[in-house]
């Protein structure tokens, strides 16, 4: 298996690596459940969580993951960082890299931030904790670990993802993972919330939520950024959005009693998801949170292991479209076989 130097996105992983990280995450679940939640795996490693966007849960998840593996973890958020003083992103990155951390975990509102920094930051491994509307790989690995608890294989499963697909890095990362692992994605949204040419990911596109429900093995609800949406005319009102695209009990029943409900959090109860659905037995939202810590432990351990690890994508910035598509088409085997 190709060793990992960075984790920019699902795009850069082959199915074997995805399987490996999910399985590694599985073996960390136990550590998080016992009374002494600590292993010495990353003793002496330094991890900096550099968050330019607010995110309580992802940052906490990465912080716990690092600390439970005995790494020294520093958190920097945009509000306390030098960016407020006009320092450029690159200078902030190079300054932190000069302090010799092993891993920089980065969240930024600009797509491609991790690839951009990696070009200039030498040895430091970079983990993408979400970049603009581009990728959010640890969320997708988390979801796969969660689904693994219920499903034997991802092969031919149908995940229906609903909401602001246009601005969703979770949706994009899932669409890429689906091709690699052989599951199917349905995307559901009004056209105002869909990016151009979305069908080229090989997904089914629906504007009618009710039509997409039958046959859905999981329904994945995305968070609605409510203020932004009405201001730019993407939706007329929260009320109408909930009526058209909210997951309520009737819709869950239409999908099926075994249908799993996922949400990357934080949830807007009463907007994209009704409270009784959020709290139902079908909901795996809290499992996702729990597994998120285990997956992030796995990612950090995988990046720290093996000094002779080759860079996974040394010249990502010059990859051609064909290479990207070939990657996407690689090996569609079910990954728990």
């Amino acid at each position: 298996m190709r060793p990992l130097k960075h984790l920019f996105g699902i795009t850069d992983l082959d199915s074997e690596q995805i399987k490996y990280l999910v399985n590694l995450g599985h073996s960390f679940i136990d550590i998080n459940r016992r009374s002494i939640k600590k292993a010495p795996t990353l003793r002496g490693k330094t991890i900096i969580n550099l968050f330019f966007e607010n995110s309580t849960r992802t940052r906490t998840s990465f912080e716990l993951a690092g600390k439970r593996l005995s790494a020294d973890v520093i958190n920097i958020s945009a509000s306390t960082s030098a960016t407020k003083k006009g320092e450029s992103l690159l200078d902030t990155g190079m300054t932190l890299a000069a302090m010799q951390p092993h891993i920089l975990v980065i969240r930024h509102s600009i797509a491609g931030t991790c690839e951009f920094l990696a070009e200039h930051l030498g040895d430091t491994s970079i983990v993408n904790a979400g970049d603009g509307a581009h990728e959010h790989p640890t969320q997708i690995l988390t979801d796969l670990l969660t689904l693994k608890q219920t499903w034997d294989s991802m092969e031919d499963k149908v995940i229906t993802i609903v909401g602001d697909i246009a601005h969703s890095r979770v949706a994009r990362s899932h669409l890429i993972a689906a091709k690699k692992l052989g599951y199917k994605m349905r995307v559901v949204a009004p056209k105002t919330l869909l990016p151009s040419d979305i069908e080229r990911y090989g997904c089914e596109v629906y504007h009618d939520f009710d039509a997409a429900l039958p046959g859905s093995d999981a329904v994945y609800m995305l968070r609605m950024q409510t203020e932004r949406m009405t201001d730019n005319c993407s939706i007329p009102s929260i009320r109408e959005y909930h009526e058209a695209y909210g997951l309520n009990r009737a819709r869950l029943n239409a999908a099926g009693s075994d249908t799993l409900v996922l949400h990357p959090g934080p949830m807007n109860r009463g907007v994209e998801i009704a409270t009784d659905v959020a709290d139902s037995v079908n909901s795996h939202v809290l499992s996702q949170v729990e597994h998120g810590v285990a997956i992030r432990m796995a990612v950090l351990a995988a990046l720290c292991g093996g000094n002779d690890a080759e860079e996974i994508s040394p010249k990502r910035n010059r990859r051609t479209k064909r290479e990207m598509e070939e990657d996407a088409m690689k090996s569609k085997e079910g990954f728990w076989s």
Partner: protein, 169 residues
């Protein structure tokens, strides 16, 4: 490269019986170390249960407790540790197939302590091949063989069990 069978199946069977006899007691907490130690622990468990002892089994995967993660990276075959009993106040038998440097045992003890505080930890080893790098010795040893440093000693469980010595460059 030369492969030598150090101990054949008969020698191993005898050793496992001797080990079970030495470990025997009323309540036994037996923890195998993935993956060879877990197999040895299974074999000893059968002997002990046949003799009427009560055995509590657990397994440890010490991948996350190794001191050489930097050079080798996480093991792709890593499995979750399973300790379905509370180790606090118990006498716990750690079981492994081959004892060499002692680093695996140290890592296993570290992990065990993260589950609780056993009253004591004892070590049962199928083969002690010498070459210790840490002050660790087993309480119960099935077989002994001083292997040269340029050799690996392995428990082979494919087919009939035996112990193999292989010279490496």
């Amino acid at each position: 490269m030369t492969d030598t069978v150090l101990f054949d199946n008969t020698a191993l069977e005898d050793a496992l019986i001797r080990m079970a006899t030495a470990i025997a007691g009323t309540e036994i907490y037996l923890v195998g170390i993935h993956s060879g130690g877990a197999k040895v622990a299974n074999a000893i468990q059968i002997q002990l249960e046949d003799a009427g002892n009560t055995v509590h089994r657990g397994n440890l995967d010490i991948s996350f407790y190794r001191d050489d993660l930097d050079t080798i990276g996480p093991n792709p075959e890593v499995r979750p540790s399973e300790l379905p009993f509370d180790v606090s106040g118990k006498e716990v038998w750690l079981v492994d197939d081959v004892l060499y440097s002692g680093r695996t045992i140290r890592a296993a003890m570290d992990e065990l302590f993260d589950y609780g505080r056993p009253s004591s930890i004892k070590l049962a080893i199928l083969v002690d091949r010498g070459g210790r790098q840490l002050p660790i010795s087993a309480n119960c040893v099935g077989l002994t063989h001083n292997a040269p440093a340029n050799c690996t000693v392995k428990l082979i469980t494919k087919g009939t069990w035996h112990i193999e010595q292989r010279q490496v460059k």
